[in-house]
């Protein structure tokens, strides 16, 4: 199988982010999307902890440990940025003001259900953060994930088996193997990673891929 690297997946997501969009990038892989935005587009990234206009990491010697993103990494603020408190930050999410959120996932169902905050095997304390608020309010939820789990488990399914983050919320899934829309009939193929056949990808998908 040909697989998109993490950077290639992030770059593919970035292609779909239009000029002028307000975008929340989830912790982990989604944070890399910003680095791949095509030239000529101005996008404002929101960080749930109270910043609209997240910029790149600070230059050495200019770090500010009180200016961080949701992943708790030090960042900068771009021109046009604003700071605000948690209430305003989550108003932006729940109120539908943020256009797009890019999130990771454990599982996505063909109905658009998303599971990305807890597994069944998890021995750590449960931790949800802002994920449920994002999917409750942001109109376009893009998922960036590996198509298959490290243990070989299928992750694109008819129904999620892990606890849900939200019901019917996902718009599109970007994996190392394919890009799939959530359509009324279920997963609908947008594109295969070059060199893979539909049959190969279908075999690694727990629900029908419609073409």
């Amino acid at each position: 199988m040909n697989r998109r690297s993490d950077a290639e997946m992030a770059a593919r997501v970035a292609q779909d982010i239009p000029d002028g969009a307000y975008v929340n990038l989830g912790i982990g892989k989604p944070t890399h999307v910003a680095a791949h935005l095509p030239m000529g587009r101005e996008v404002l990234y929101q960080s749930e902890n109270g910043l609209l206009g997240v910029g790149p990491p600070p230059e050495p010697g200019r770090e500010d440990r009180e200016l961080i993103d949701a992943s708790k990494r030090m960042v900068t603020a771009v021109p046009g940025a604003a700071y605000f408190d948690q209430c305003d930050s989550f108003a932006m999410m729940r109120g539908g003001h943020i256009d797009i959120a890019v999130l990771g996932a454990y599982q996505v169902a063909e109905t658009g259900d998303l599971a990305n905050w807890a597994t069944l095997e998890d021995r750590h304390p449960p931790a949800v953060g802002g994920a449920m608020d994002l999917v409750a309010g942001v109109p376009t939820i893009l998922i960036l994930m590996n198509h298959v789990g490290k243990d070989g488990s299928l992750r694109l399914l008819e129904r999620c088996t892990y606890p849900l983050t939200g019901l019917g919320v996902v718009s599109r899934v970007y994996t190392d193997l394919a890009v799939l829309d959530i359509a009324p009939e279920g997963f609908r193929l947008v594109e295969l990673t070059s060199g893979n056949s539909l049959a190969e990808v279908q075999a690694l998908t727990g629900a029908k891929i419609h073409v």
Binding site: L51, G80, A82, A91, M92, H97, G137
Partner: protein, 222 residues
Amino acid sequence: MIDKTCADPVAAIQPIGDGASVMVGGFGTSGIPYGLLNALAEKGARDLTIISNNAGEGEAGIAALLKLGLVAKVICSYPRTPGSVWFERRYKAGEVALEVMPQGTLAERMRAAGSGLGGFFTPTGYGTKLAEGKETRVIGGRGYVFEPPLSADFALIRGETGDRWGNLSYHATARNFNPVMAMAARHSIAEVRQVSTEPLHPERVVTPGIFIASLCEYAVRP
């Protein structure tokens, strides 16, 4: 590139058509977007629902819309300002509908809309005429009234300084309803005393630009 600036109030209010619901910032004569309201009066969009704290005074602003017969309904908390002659005249003639609610409930219903909430329970007005017909609930021995979110097609906002991203600062008590209306409406239009070519400092932004669809300069102070 993000650039939400508009040439002038006439261009900014262009999307507002007949039958629109329009939130209008301000309290008394402070923080009222007179430039946008003048442009709206000139355009002559009809059958408007105006949502504001007061119902206009004198001959300008909301009063001008009422005078021209452009307003079908007013939703507000305090329409009885001295000088609200045009509202009184239209109201007594049965030419404009009125919905009155407590001022804090008006603000909080807007915030609920802007924040994606489905409604809230407030103690304000419990047991009074303004709660008649509304769902109530006793929580911890106190009575509360259920209030749903209040959105609008447009909001007209008056700010002090704005930048091309739509970030706004305000001046003194001209802030009042402007930030919450900017959140609550589907399309929020701001006039500012000054459009700055430099971005506002991120600590000084009161309304982040994400809540503003467009802005224009209107330098006249009230």
